[in-house]
Every structure is written in C-alpha cells, then in structure tokens.
Amino acid sequence: MEKLKNIWPSLALMAAIVAIWWIVVVQSESVIFPTPLQVVTGTLELAEDGTLWEHIGASLFRVGTGFLVAVLVAVPLGLWMGRVTGAWRTLNPLFQIMRPISPIAWIPLAILWFGVGEVSPIFLIFIAAVFPMIVQTASGVHTIERRYLHAAENFGVSRARLFRQVIVPAVLPEIVVGMRIGLGVAWLVVVAAEMIALRSGLGYLIIDSRNAGNRYDLVIAGMIIIGLIGLLLDGLMRLLEGLKSVRWRYGR
C-alpha cells in the first residue's frame, strides 16, 4: 500500500504521456507515427514469432560477456593501482584520458580490428565498462580509512590476509558502485554498437525497423524495451548492494 502511494505519481505521469501521445497522433492523422496501441500490437507480433527474444538475448549476451571481461580486468587492476603508488602514477593519467572518450568513437577501430561480428560490440562494451570500474576500485582503495590499515599492520597479518580480510571487503562497496556505473554504460553502448555493426540485438531491431518499411511502432517498442531492461539490470546491481558483505558501508 505504502509502495503504491510512492509510485502512483510517476505512474500517473506515464499514463498522461501515453494519453497525450495517443491524442496527438489521432488528431494529426499521422500515417507514420504509431499510436500506443500499434506499438503494443507490434511488440506482441514480434514476441509471438520469437524474434523479440532473439534480439533481447543477443543484446544481453554481448553486454554480459563484455561486462564480465571488464570486471575481471578492472577489479584486480584497480586494486593494484590503489595499493601500489608506482602503478597508480603510471596508469592513472592514461586511464583519465581514455575514460572521457565515448565508446562510440571506438566503433571505426573496432570494425577495423575485429570486423563486423560478435567481437566488435563486446569489445566496445568492455571499453565502456572497464574505465569507470578501474577508477572506482582504485579510489576505493585510496579511501580505506587508515585506522583499519594500521590495525592490520599492528597485528602483523600476512599480505594475503590483509587483502582478503581488509582491503577487498573495505573496497567491495566501491567495486559494486563501479559495477553499477559500468553496467549502465555498457547497456547504453550495446544498443549504439548494434545499430551500426550487426544483424541482431535491440539496436539492430530499431535501425532495421526504420530501414525496412518505416515500422516506427517497432522503433518505439525497441526503445521502451531497452529502457525497461536497463532498469532491470540496475535493479539487479542494487540487489548486490544489499548483500551482507557490502552493506556494512550503508548501515548506520
């Protein structure tokens, strides 16, 4: 009940937008721009013949792979940069320059290096996700409170234990924040990458629907599905934030 009370204004807003959209399309007698109903029937059509699921699956697979590789690279690298001053000084300026370059700008290079296939979009997602996660992890290590490191030093624990029981758990909340940012960017990029390079995925669905007969109902359907899946992925990362080993940061 309480939850309903919190979300009804935004539900009402969305309903209002749909209503205005519907009225404007009917009033203007547009032949190309679809009504909300046409978008729904178009989506159902795609769902029934199975192509919708193939597109969603293709996009999720690319994001999943690229993001996973990015995590495997970014977390150890970030931890290393956070602990070793020399590594930080050497690598940080490079990453700070690479980070603001939009992953879209890498598309020509991706096509040159990997051709038009599965590897290019995965590479682009990797590029998009890896830098925010490296930066977040390394800065997480830097912000570990000294009193905890001092305590570990005082007890004379081994390097392995220092990493396992102090550094990693201390940085874990930052890593999760980095993962959330990284996955968000990755999802943005997969759609853009698919628009240019490939024969499947939600980005391809949008471009192909427009090119093959001005199916704007499917364009809008694709957009809404992308938004909803993005929301879902973010919700998934939020679940990670709720894990016991991460939550120490948010308690009290």
Binding site: E153, N154, G156, A170, L172, W248, G251
Partner: protein, 263 residues
C-alpha cells in the same frame, strides 16, 4: 598476584630491563624553518606489568608520542626499545586501542577477534575468540556485525580483539573518550577487571585526570608542545579506588596544578 608472578619470571633474566624504554625522543612536524617541534625530548621507562597513564593538555603531542612508542611513527631523535631491543615498527607484541576504534565493520565480532590470530599455533581459533568475547561481556554477540552494536560494545570488541593475541603491551590512546560519560565510567571498571585476569603492561594516554588516577600505577604529566615529561606521580592505592578519598583528591589537585589549573 599475577603481577608478582610475572615479576618473578622477569627476575630470572639477568637484568630486569624495563618493558618499554624511550630515550631522548624528539619529533618535528614539517621541515626547515617552518618545522614545528612536537615532542621535545622524552625519556621514560615502563616496567613489565605496570600501568602508566600519560596526561597532558590537548594538542600537546601525546598522541604523537604514543605513535612513536607503538612504532607507527619514527622519532627524529632518540629510540624506543621493547624488552631491550630497539623497535621501529608496530608489532603484535603491543596492540594499539585508539579513540575512534578500528573494529572492522565488515567482519562479525568473532571474525574480528580471530583476525589477529596468525598461523596454526592457536588451536581452535573460534573457541579462543569466543572465550574473549565472553570475557568482555559479549557472549551471544559472536555473530553480530559491528553496526548492530553500541559504542560501548564496540570498544569491548576492540579490547577483546587485542587481548586474543596475548599482547604483552596495550597502548590505549584516549580509548574511552568517544563514549558517553556513563559508559566511560563502566569501561574503566571493566578494564580493571579484565586486566586483573590477564596482567598486561599498559600505556594509557588520556586528557581525563580522574580516569588516569582511577586506573594507573603511575601518572606522567606532559608539558605543552613541544612536549616533555613535566611531573610524575605514583598512585599506590589498591583497586577499586574511590576517587572521593582525600588522598586521591589531593593527587588530582596536584596533577591539575601541573596542568595549570588551580581549584
């Protein structure tokens, strides 16, 4: 009792070297003409099993002195020896308990207590941890996370975590000053009870003169920065001490006079 035993053991060694010995400790902050002298030549000896309190005005450099003695900072001049050996680094031999505490918020109470137990020489680590948790009154909270505990309980976790590794020395830097007044008093009594079970050498830094009188065998008063030892007082009364007793009131006045306060 325990004190005597320990002294007897120490007596077996050729010379009863002090547990902690500092000679001519000096420390500056900054460099060159702007260097700020913080510790201006401190020498002290602390015997095995002794409880020494250091009081001083705030900002006098007592925490810096503590960091130097516990090995976390290096003096510009002078040396610190533990058991007659020059010590330059922190070691599990002397555990620091500080004002803000350093109980790991991501580990349970039991995991925190087991943290310092390196190697395999400790037998059943969990049982040992639970023993000390019970000793500081945290039985039943072994699997709680620090955020679920009150400030006083956290302080007990920190003390227990130090005791588990059987340190010979406890360095306490204003350990109870972040607690409310009532909990502060309660922890004093607790600490004495714990120390009666396992006698350690304790170096306590505090700005609370009554806390020092209640707990310590010897009280050193530090001067303002650059700090030196200005006066030393022995406290011979047996525990538990009544701070309202005339002797201790006189002592308190004498210490406050050293700190520039006359009542």
């Amino acid at each position: 009792m325990d004190v005597k035993l320990k002294e007897a053991r120490a007596g077996a060694a050729p010379a009863a070297a002090p547990k902690i010995s500092g000679t001519g400790i000096r420390k500056h902050f900054g460099k060159g003409a702007q260097a700020l002298p913080v510790v201006g030549g401190v020498s002290l000896d602390i015997q095995d099993g002794e409880f020494v309190a250091i009081v001083g005005p705030s900002g006098c450099g007592k925490s810096t002195l503590m960091k130097i003695i516990s090995g976390f900072e290096q003096p510009d001049e002078g040396t610190v020896s533990i058991d007659g050996v020059v010590a330059r680094r922190p070691s599990p031999k002397g555990i620091v308990i500080s004002q803000h505490g350093s109980v790991f918020p991501w580990l349970t109470v039991q995991q925190n207590l087991m943290f310092g137990l390196n190697g395999d020489s400790h037998g059943d680590k969990a049982a040992l941890a639970d023993h000390y948790a019970a000793m500081v009154g945290l039985k039943g909270f072994e699997n709680s996370y620090p955020r679920e505990l009150s400030g006083g309980m956290l302080k007990r976790v920190e003390i227990a975590r130090a005791l588990v590794v059987k340190p010979e020395i406890l360095y306490m830097d204003e350990p109870f000053s972040a607690l409310d007044a009532l909990m502060n008093l309660r922890m004093r009594t607790e600490l004495l009870r714990i120390l009666a079970e396992e006698r350690h050498t304790v170096l306590l830094i505090t700005h609370d003169v009554e806390e020092a009188i209640y707990l310590a065998d010897r009280i050193m008063v530090l001067s303002p920065r650059p700090t030196t030892i200005q006066a030393t007082f022995e406290v011979r009364q047996a525990h538990p001490r009544k701070l309202s007793s005339p002797d201790l009131q006189d002592l308190k006045e004498a210490i406050l006079a050293q700190l520039g306060l006359t009542l």
